[in-house]
């Protein structure tokens, strides 16, 4: 019992520790594709360290929402990390506290408050980006729902651990609905993570910003928390995608510290493979114009509904 609590906390520690590394590796690989050297993969850690030691400036015009939001953005991915299989294939202590829908809503709560905070700061660019984020968000929401409901049709549950065990042992792994679900979820990760066909994560032009504009007014510790929270959210989404949907193998099956610790490099290896795919996608596509994003997410929606009808009728 105590082991299960400790493993659960270890999962959170892994998410906390390796989320900046994932974003560092991703940006380094992208720079290498463009024949540049790029920053060190440890740069995100240095950025966080620097920001935590800087002064924080908060506008007098802003309300409590602005001060409260960084903590919420930082804490929500940690909550989700308690619910999903990051390292183990058996349910841990907090696993039944919420299902994938619950996790999705907890993540959405962070996004919602980040939007409020962007409107709350009197910065003119904040509300522009915030309304764009909401547009992407509400177009992505039905895709999330349908993906999760199709998953629950297949596995009979929306608890991520049970879905993971269903697919790890399923004879029908490459059914059409599964492949279509994976496609839809990949498009969703690109949209929610602010990656390239939807948003440019390295762009610093305020008028074109979508995801970045929410943290424009933050400085010092608040900015560090926003950044770290965003990186953790991306890490958590990748974990759900890989450990539950695509490759439900390589997780610790026994309740030993050695098995659980061995799972850490395996999971990082899987994430690295996915990062390579993401680098290919981001380097070969151009950023979509704003009103084309609806088409991109419409395509994701169609894919997920096709998965559902293939599952229900097929």
């Amino acid at each position: 019992m105590s082991d299960r609590v400790l493993f659960n906390l270890l999962q959170v520690a892994v998410v906390l520790a390796f989320a900046p590394l994932v974003s560092g590796v991703l940006s380094r690989l992208k720079e290498m594709v463009q024949s540049k050297r790029g920053p060190s993969i440890l740069q995100p850690y240095r950025d966080l360290w620097k920001l935590f030691h800087k002064d924080e400036i908060v506008s007098e015009e802003s309300s409590w929402i602005f001060r409260f939001t960084p903590y919420l953005v930082f804490v929500t991915p940690i909550f989700v990390a308690l619910l999903i299989p990051v390292l183990t294939s058996y349910p841990l202590f907090f696993a039944f506290m919420g299902d994938m829908l619950g996790g999705g809503f907890v993540l959405a709560l962070g996004g919602f408050f980040a939007t409020l905070a962007a409107v709350d700061s009197a910065n003119p660019y904040g509300p522009i980006g915030a309304s764009r984020t909401r547009m992407v968000g509400f177009l992505a929401e039905p895709v999330f729902m349908i993906v999760f409901f199709t998953v629950s049709f297949v596995a009979g549950s929306t608890i991520p651990y049970i879905v993971q065990q269903h697919w790890a042992s399923a004879p029908d792994f490459f059914t059409p609905s599964h492949v279509l679900l994976v496609l839809a979820f990949l498009m969703l990760i690109l949209a929610e993570g602010g990656r390239i066909p939807v948003d440019n994560p390295t762009g610093h032009f305020e008028l074109a910003m979508i995801d970045e504009s929410k943290s424009l007014e933050y400085s010092g510790r608040g900015f560090a928390l926003m950044k770290w929270g965003g990186q953790m959210k991306f890490f958590v989404l990748l974990c759900i995608f890989l450990n539950v949907l695509v490759t439900p193998w390589g997780l610790a099956a026994e309740q030993h510290w050695s098995a659980v610790l061995l799972a850490i490099p395996l999971v990082l290896l899987k994430i690295f493979a996915l990062i390579l795919v993401l680098v290919v996608i981001e380097s070969s596509l151009a950023k979509l114009r704003l009103f084309r994003i609806a088409e991109f997410l419409g395509a994701a929606f169609i894919t997920s509904v096709a998965a559902m009808i293939a599952q229900v009728f097929g």
């Binding site: 492949v179 279509l180 395509a299 169609i302 096709a306 009808i309 293939a310």
Partner: protein
């Protein structure tokens, strides 16, 4: 085939049909004539793969023949013919018009696909219990989505591709339901398809040379004298 590999083959077949459905949606939604053609090529290859897998499943040499005809005629000969006959329309124009905007189009297409499932699943069960289930509904969906492409597209070449996509859908349903149709019929259909491509291609080129565009939506009224097309007049 021994029984142990049947589930695997049927899964792979189901996968091919699922991706077939996606390409049918893609043909409606892409904005570029090249993308439309590329998706059609992928769709034809998926059709050939499904035919080959069903041939493996039912030990039918006839279905291998269908796979071969489809793998050669549509992905290779059709693009070659179009490149020879109507390359300007295909390769120089980037974006193509639609009557409806793309999200609306996709939603209607989705309703059509769900309707096809309602129609196709009982139909497949009524014909024969051994009919692989995904082929018939997806084939009907391909047929309907091709017909829908014909109604929403306003340019000649995407219209042609919609027509060919309809034929692909009919084939996908056909190979599952009528597995022992005479080879002659398949060859005749394949040849007919190529002749259609050729004739439409020549027509497109002729129309494009006369009028300057093949946007069907702009060709609503007759003109006495051959002039430049309306878009150019509006610009001037």
């Amino acid at each position: 085939m021994n029984d142990a590999t049947h589930p695997l083959i049927e899964n792979l077949n189901a996968l091919a049909t699922g991706l077939f459905l996606l390409t049918a949606f893609g043909i409606i939604a892409t904005r570029q004539a090249r993308g439309c053609l590329n998706l059609f090529i992928v769709q034809s290859l998926l059709l050939a793969a499904s035919a080959a897998l069903l041939g493996l499943r039912f030990d039918s040499a006839h279905l291998y023949g269908v796979a071969l005809v489809n793998a050669v005629s549509k992905p290779v000969i059709v693009p070659w013919l179009l490149r020879r006959v109507a390359s300007a329309e295909l390769y120089t124009r980037r974006e193509i018009d639609q009557v409806l905007n793309i999200p609306t189009t996709l939603l209607i297409a989705l309703a059509l696909a769900i309707g096809a499932y309602f129609l196709g699943v009982p139909l497949a069960a009524a014909v024969d219990a051994s009919v692989p289930t995904p082929n018939v509904p997806v084939g009907i969906a391909g047929l309907l989505l091709g017909a829908f492409t014909l109604t929403v597209r306003r340019e000649a070449l995407p219209l042609l591709i919609g027509l060919l996509a309809m034929e692909n859908g009919a084939f996908l349903a056909g190979i599952a339901m009528a597995r022992d149709l005479s080879m002659l019929v398949e060859l005749a259909i394949a040849t007919d398809g190529l002749v259609i491509v050729f004739i439409v291609g020549v027509l497109v080129r002729a129309v494009a040379q006369q009028v300057g565009s093949t946007a069907v939506g702009d060709l609503a009224s007759l003109k006495e004298t051959p002039t430049v097309s309306p878009p150019y007049e509006e610009l001037g």
